[in-house]
Amino acid sequence: MKVITANFVTCAVKECKTSPASFPLHFNDAELEQQELDFQPEFIRNILPRIDWEALRTISNELGFPSLPESKPEEEALNNEQTLKDLHRLLLETHVTEGKLTCGNCGHSYMIKEGIANFLLPSHLV
């Protein structure tokens, strides 16, 4: 599971969808693996508009990455190759192989095993 996935997922419990605390889900006990992927600066520029920057800063911290800038790179900063390379590494090359994703609203944790997160709910939460 690539780190960018966290930008598109939230708690599977219906009642949590409307709570701001359900996004982003929080990584715990995450084991990471780097898988090299060709660096495509244009792709990163095209992905950036999709990224919730505040959420990514939180995730990046939880995974122990160096702090991201306070605001999303725009205009000139988008030509800074190092910035784009750092984002490429974090979003697309970093895989979470084991660990948990926890909802900040209901506290439920979703297990990640061998890179597959399990969002099926136990019967009491369906």
Partner: protein, 258 residues
């Protein structure tokens, strides 16, 4: 004809083997009319990278094809793909099918990126408003009962490995039933997916959903038009006979995306 992704690594004990309905999906998405529509909806250099999500990926053949043939389908290669399935084995299979197909078809880079396969019920874990293209080849066969959803524990690899031969047979049959059994009119699962579409699609979002004749496609389309603000059309030339089944793929999208 564009190559079909390799699924030779997939064990079809619990996973749906690519069949006429899967191939109809590949042909429809890569048809001249659909690729034109999608390229205009997601114009390169103007619109951010689309997120393509397939629900119930099975072997992953449809999502892998979409990722690998993104240039033909979207006129751009910078797409992200994500798959969900209630069967963990299908998620593992999809990840491999997608990454292999991208490697095989997109040399040198740029390449599409398969971001993850998630074990989940339909769109349950997806962030509202995040999906640009939603693909669904449902369990559409009318059946007396709808199989229940598996629990997280039933997807634990350690549990199935410890099963006796007969328990494994029952377990495999159960997971296979999830791939085709659609309950009343074959629509019970599709109905839940249709209900989720307005919430999960982005403002520019579009969904492709396969229906068989017993699902009463005309009634389904009429119902979608009744949502208000949504359009629905038969995609490509998918109303044709596919093998012994009469299958159709409908395209559902927001009327006003500006």
């Amino acid at each position: 004809m564009l190559p079909t992704p390799d699924t030779s690594h997939v064990s079809f004990d619990t996973i749906y083997e690519p069949s006429e309905d899967s191939y109809l999906f590949l042909d429809t998405l890569s048809s001249a009319s659909e690729s034109k529509w999608l390229s205009e909806r997601f114009p390169k250099n103007q619109e951010a990278s689309p997120l393509v999500v397939e629900v119930g990926t099975g072997s992953g053949v449809v999502l892998a094809f979409t990722a690998a043939q993104s240039q033909q389908i979207f006129g751009r290669r910078d797409i992200l793909t994500l798959g969900t399935d209630v069967n963990r084995n299908a998620c593992i299979a999809t990840r491999k099918t997608a990454t292999t197909a991208i490697q095989a078809e997109q040399q040198p880079s740029p390449q599409s990126v398969h971001i993850s396969s998630l074990t989940a019920d339909l769109c349950a874990p997806l962030r509202p408003g995040s999906v640009d293209v939603l693909l669904f080849n449902p369990p559409y066969v009318p059946t007396e009962d709808l199989p229940r959803l598996p629990s997280a524990a039933e997807n634990d690899p350690a549990v199935s490995e410890a099963m006796s031969r007969s328990a494994k047979f029952d377990n495999d049959s159960y997971f296979l039933s999830l791939t085709y059994a659609g309950g009343a009119d074959g629509m019970e699962t599709t109905d839940r997916l249709l209900d989720a579409i307005p919430g999960v699609l982005s403002v520019r979002g579009v969904a492709y959903v396969l229906l068989c004749k017993q699902n009463r496609p005309d009634t389904v389309m009429e119902r979608i038009r009744g949502w208000g603000g949504w359009q629905v059309e038969t995609a490509g030339s998918s109303g044709m006979q596919a093998g012994w089944e009469k299958l159709v793929i409908v395209r559902i999208w927001r009327e006003d995306c500006s």
